[in-house]
Amino acid sequence: MNAILLTAVWGIIMMFGGVFFKSKQTPKYWAIAGLVIIIISNYLELKTGLPFFDIDTKFMLAFNSFNLIFITIALASTLLYFLLSGSDIEKVGDNVSEYFALIFFVLCGVCLSATYNTLLILFLGIEIMSIPLYILTGSDKRNLKSNEAALKYFLMGAFSTGIMLMGIAFLYGGNSDGSFFINSFNFGEGKLPVFIAIGMVFMLIALSFKVSAAPFHFWTPDVYEGAPTVFTSFMATVVKIAGFIAFIRLFENSFGKVHAQWQLLVSIITAATLFIGNLTAVFQQSVKRMLAYSSIAQAGFMLLAVFALNTNAMQGLILYSAGYSLATIGLFAILIRMYDYTIDGFNGLAKNQPVLAVTATIFLLSLTGIPLTAGFQSKFLLLIAAVRDGHQNWLVFWAILCAAVSAYYYFKIIQAMFFKEAGQEVQEHGSIAEGSTITTGFKVLLILTAILIILLGIFPSILTDSLRF
């Protein structure tokens, strides 16, 4: 509760700040300060279970350790994101303060979609998350790619909204209570009534769209590539994970009892997502676009949690959200500063910027799922979850084969950084883009992020043990 209100309030503060702040740097510090406050208050709520504000939401929101930990992760990732890339937000355009305000609104939506208890809040949360993102995507106004991305994102997002509403309508029709509470669907344990079934498929599609699962992923590469890189980083991590939490909340609470009836659909989507994400990423030359595809691939892995829907899946998803967000934010922070976004642009980075190269390697290893990183532990837990579920064993093998393919493209970047000589242009120009400086603080932050990833890889219990079921 604290986080929802405070993010909204702080968004408004940032919005008005646009009028008062003179320097371009000021909003960043305000945003960081606000975020720290929000994190602390959220953490207090997690520890004590008591929010600062006692608002009767009529059970429209539900708070439990899972939600709150997730919100903490999302907020902390955002904090890291501000710290690493805050100065790059300043470079996107003039309306710096507004950008931060929008990000806070997105966070508000994230918190809503993590804690919703009725379909209405789900809908609102998703929309609150999406609309600012359409804007952020298009915020580089004179860049045609940014325009294009925004329009594509918007059109397809609106389309998926329509689908989701259709789903909600059918679910409502099938619910003889006449309510929207997600845990009130009283269809028993037999075969799903047709209304519910149709509604559920619509919801599945709409949420798959939000988490960019195949074949509803097509917006992702284009939008991620077209959007200003610094916002791509945010979209690909915090927002995407929020989609997952929304996804798993709905399907666990509403349809958990009839898991077996829709598992096949999820497994098909999972398989397709893993396949398309990993396979398409192989051929990409632009690292940014490759990361977009890799985010699809990672989404495929996370879908295993939805597929399995057991305690391991929950633990795994929490860990995944942390590990994946940390690594991706770190990687994007480095990518933003690169002169050349293609893989060749990374050639010889180890020589020019050893700290960047080493930390990027750790991020990539985590994304690949090499032991000793958070990425491994989360993938591992999700695999346990999927295997434990016992149905659709082929999916497990499909997942690991795709993980093997993922090693291929992640390691191409590692190869470029360490084992290849920088090309002519990069050599003359340096790996780092003009106007970007690699400060010591930035390096320290990257190192801290890398250490955090390794720490989570060795002691994942830090996160998983605080989950209560």
């Binding site: 929802i4 507004e98 929309e127």
Partner: protein, 168 residues
């Protein structure tokens, strides 16, 4: 056939016909006008269902505000029928039509199988859709969503500013 049924069929045909015309019209302006017609037809349905509040809101917000905005934009851009080139890829057009149609078919076919569809809808009766009832509901139970949707508007507002403002 009662008057209500006649109205129902009339409005349904109107909505569907206008909807088809939205898609089929060459000129965006005509599309907008047909869409407005559709919205009116839907509002008529709301009235049939005794959802008076929504009927009003639909006319005001959709037909009134939103569609005017559309119209305004279309006029601003001075788009006419020729501005949209013909769909070169004919088969894409067919596939689009066929898949959209099959979506309808699939869902209808699925619904055919169940008995739930025989349930009746309360027509022209019941107080649930009256402004007073909904108002109470909105400002008691739904006060939190109501408040939080302001965030949505704020962000839309910022968005309009951010996107439309000329870069200094």
């Amino acid at each position: 056939m009662s008057a209500i049924e006649i109205m129902f069929w009339f409005l349904s045909v109107l909505a569907l016909g206008a909807g088809v015309m939205v898609v089929a019209s060459k000129s965006p302006v005509y599309s907008i006008l047909f869409l407005i017609l559709t919205f009116f037809a839907i509002s008529g349905h709301y009235i049939l269902l005794n959802a008076q509040f929504l009927a009003v809101v639909n006319v005001i917000v959709y037909a009134g505000a939103i569609m005017v905005l559309f119209l305004f934009v279309v006029m601003l851009m001075n788009l006419n029928a020729e501005s949209e080139p013909h769909q070169k890829n004919k088969w894409l057009l067919y596939i689009g039509g066929i898949s959209g149609g099959s979506l309808l078919l699939v869902i209808v076919a699925a619904l055919k199988k169940t008995v739930a569809t025989t349930q009746l809808v309360q027509m022209n009766n019941g107080e649930v859709g009256l402004i007073k009832n909904l108002g109470i509901k909105l400002f008691t139970d739904y006060v939190f969503p109501f408040e939080i949707s302001s965030v949505l508007f704020l962000s839309a507002m910022i968005g309009a500013v951010v996107i439309s403002k000329k870069e200094g």
